[in-house]
Symmetry: C2
Subunit: 336 residues, 2 copies
C-alpha cells in the first residue's frame, strides 16, 4: 500500500435542493484513508455509479427509502479493487462492486461486496447492464411486465441505463420494443445502440401523434421510469390487461408541484395493472437476473453503454447533468 | 297469460348527457309484449337494478364496454318471473335474474337467465348482495385486494351496493373495515347497517385529517369505486405493498374535465399495485363467489340493503339521484 494516497476524498451532502440540485448541495471533504478492522476490506473505488434515485433521497421527507442526512457521504455503487483485506474470501487486487459511496476509498464488511469477473466484461459494465441497473430492468420486466412474444413493450427514458436494458431484453424475448427519449439524436442512438424498433422524441411538438403512430398494436407493457405527463400520454394507448411496472419518476424528482395524471380512468377501462417496485424488495431474484444478464451479454444480445465523467470532484456535476438528460446509457464517474 | 298487460313499456336512450344526465336523456316507449320463439322465455320483470356503470355507456366514446346507441333499451339486470316458456329448464312462475333491460317484459334465451331461490332470500337481494353487485365486491376484494386477517381494508362509496358488501366481507375475513361515504348520516348508517369499524365523511371540511385518524395502521387494501380526489387523498395513507382494486370511477363519470391525480409517486414509493377490473372478465370466479356470498348471507354475516323507487317510469330519476348519491345500498326500481 506504499504508493497509495494517504488521504481519502469524500463528497458529502451539504444542502437540500430546491428543484434541480446545484453544486452547493455537495461538499468535497478530505480525511485519512480508513483502516479495515477484522472482517473488513479496504477498497479503492475506480468507477462510481451516479443514479437518479439519489435525487429522491435528497428530499426533506422519506420517499421509497429514508432521506440522506446532512454531512453523509453520498450513496452510490462503485466498482473497485481490494487494497487491503482482513476478511476471508477477498485478497488484494480482487475486483468488487458494492454500495461504497462517493469517495476514493471505502471500508466494507465482506458481506457488502460482490466479486466481479473483469475477464468477462469491463468493471464498469457491472455498474450498468450487468449490475443493479440491469437487474432492475430484468426484475421489472419479467416479474411485473410479464411480456409475451409478439407483444409491444414501451419504455420511457429509453436512452438511460435501465431503459436501454429493458428494450434489449424485450427484443430478445421476441417483443416489439419502442422507446421514448428526449431529442432526435438520442432517439436515433437508442435504435442504433440498443436495437429498439422505434423511439419517439418526447420533446417534439407532435409527440402524442408520433407515439400513437409508433404503436400500431398499442402497448402491452409500459416500463415507466418517468411518470408525469408521459405516463398520461401513454395510458390511452395501453391495451386491455396491459401492465405498467413503475420503476421511477424522473420527471417528478425536481418538480415544484406534482403533475396530476388525468387518464387514470384508462386503468379501469382497460383493466391495467400499475405496479410500483423497488429493487431491494426482490433479492430472491438477483441470482436468476444476474445469470440471465451475463448469458445475454456473452451471447451479444445485451450491450452496455455508458457516459463517463472524469474525476470524483466532478461527480456532482455529472449527477446534475444526468437529471437534465445529458447522458446516454449509464452515467458513471471515473475516479482513478 | 290472460290477465297480463298486452303492452310493454320500455325506457330507451334518447340523448347523450353533458355532465349529469337529465330526464331528457331517456324516453318511455310502448310496444306490444313480445312473443318467445323456440328456445326463448318471456319474463315479466319485477325489480330492476340501476347502476352507475350505465353512465359510462352513455358517453360518445367507448369506455370499458361499448357505448349505447340511441333508441336502445337501457341496459340493466332485473329479477322477474317466467310468464311463458318455450325453453327447457324454465317453467311459468320460475324466478330468474338476467340482463333484461329497463322494461316490463323481456324475451331471453334460456342461457341468458339464472334461476334464483326466493325461499333463501328476497328476489331483490339477487340484484344486490347476492347478485352481480356482491360478486363484483367478492372478485375485487379476493382476487385483487387479497386481504389478510388483521389488515385494514378501506372502501370508497361504502354506502353503495358494492362498497357495503366489500366492508362486510372484509370484516368477516378478520380485517378492519373503514368506509368513506358522503355525509354524517350515511356514515352512521354504514357502520350500523354493515358493521364497518369506521366511516369517514368525504364532504366534511376536515376529511383528510379525519381519514388519517380513522386509519392508525394505514391502508392495506383500498377498494376504490370513485377515483379522483378521494383516491388522491388515500394514496399517501396506503401501506407498503398495498393493493388498490379499481372497481369504478363514480367521481369522474359526470366530470367535464378528468381530475389529475397528484400522488401517484406513492405508487412507486410504497410499491402499490393499482389494478382496474371489470366483472365480465372473471366468469370463472362466479360460482365460487356466489357460493361464498350465499353462505355468508345464510350465516347472517352479509346483509343486503336497498333503496327502492316505485314505477318503471321513475327509473331515470332513480338513476340520476343515485349518481348524486341519494341512495343507500343497492338502488332498485320496483316495476310491478
Amino acid at each position: 500500500m506504499a504508493t497509495l494516497p494517504t488521504l481519502n476524498r469524500q463528497i458529502v451532502f451539504k444542502a437540500r435542493p430546491q428543484g434541480l440540485p446545484t453544486p452547493a448541495c455537495f461538499e468535497l471533504l478530505t480525511s485519512p484513508v480508513p483502516e479495515p478492522t477484522q472482517g473488513q476490506v479496504l477498497v479503492r473505488n475506480h468507477v462510481l455509479s451516479v443514479d437518479p434515485y439519489i435525487r429522491m433521497r435528497m428530499e426533506a421527507v422519506d420517499s421509497y427509502a429514508p432521506v440522506m442526512r446532512m454531512g453523509e457521504v453520498l450513496v452510490g455503487r462503485t466498482a473497485g479493487q481490494v487494497v487491503a483485506s482482513r476478511a476471508s474470501g477477498f485478497r488484494e487486487g480482487d475486483w468488487v462492486v458494492g454500495r461504497l459511496g462517493w469517495q476514493d476509498f471505502s471500508v466494507a464488511q465482506a458481506g457488502e461486496l460482490q466479486a466481479i469477473d473483469t475477464t468477462l466484461a469491463p468493471a464498469s459494465a457491472y455498474l450498468g447492464a450487468l449490475g443493479s441497473t440491469g437487474v432492475t430492468a430484468w426484475v421489472g420486466l419479467m416479474l411485473f411486465g410479464q411480456p409475451k412474444p409478439g407483444e409491444t413493450v414501451l419504455v420511457s427514458a429509453a436512452s438511460g441505463a435501465v431503459g436501454g436494458v429493458v428494450g434489449q431484453l424485450a427484443r430478445h424475448l421476441g417483443c416489439r420494443a419502442v422507446g421514448i427519449a428526449g431529442g432526435e439524436a438520442k432517439c436515433a442512438q437508442v435504435k442504433q445502440a440498443y436495437g429498439f424498433d422505434e423511439c419517439v422524441d418526447y420533446k417534439a411538438a407532435n409527440f402524442n401523434e408520433a407515439l400513437r403512430l409508433a404503436l400500431p398494436q398499442g402497448v402491452d407493457v409500459y416500463f415507466d421510469n418517468v411518470g408525469g405527463p408521459i405516463l398520461d400520454a401513454v395510458l390511452p394507448l395501453v391495451n386491455h390487461f396491459g401492465r405498467i411496472p413503475l420503476c421511477g419518476l424522473v420527471s417528478q424528482y425536481n418538480a415544484d408541484q406534482p403533475y396530476g395524471v388525468k387518464h387514470l380512468r384508462e386503468v379501469f377501462n382497460r383493466r391495467i395493472t400499475l405496479r410500483g417496485f423497488v429493487l431491494s424488495d426482490h433479492r430472491d431474484q438477483f441470482e436468476a437476473a444476474n445469470q440471465a444478464l451475463l448469458a445475454a451479454y456473452a451471447a451479444g444480445h445485451l450491450k452496455h453503454r455508458e457516459t463517463l465523467t472524469h474525476g470524483l470532484e466532478n461527480a456532482p456535476q455529472a449527477f446534475i447533468q444526468m437529471l437534465q438528460g445529458a447522458h446516454f446509457g449509464k452515467q458513471l464517474v471515473q475516479i482513478t
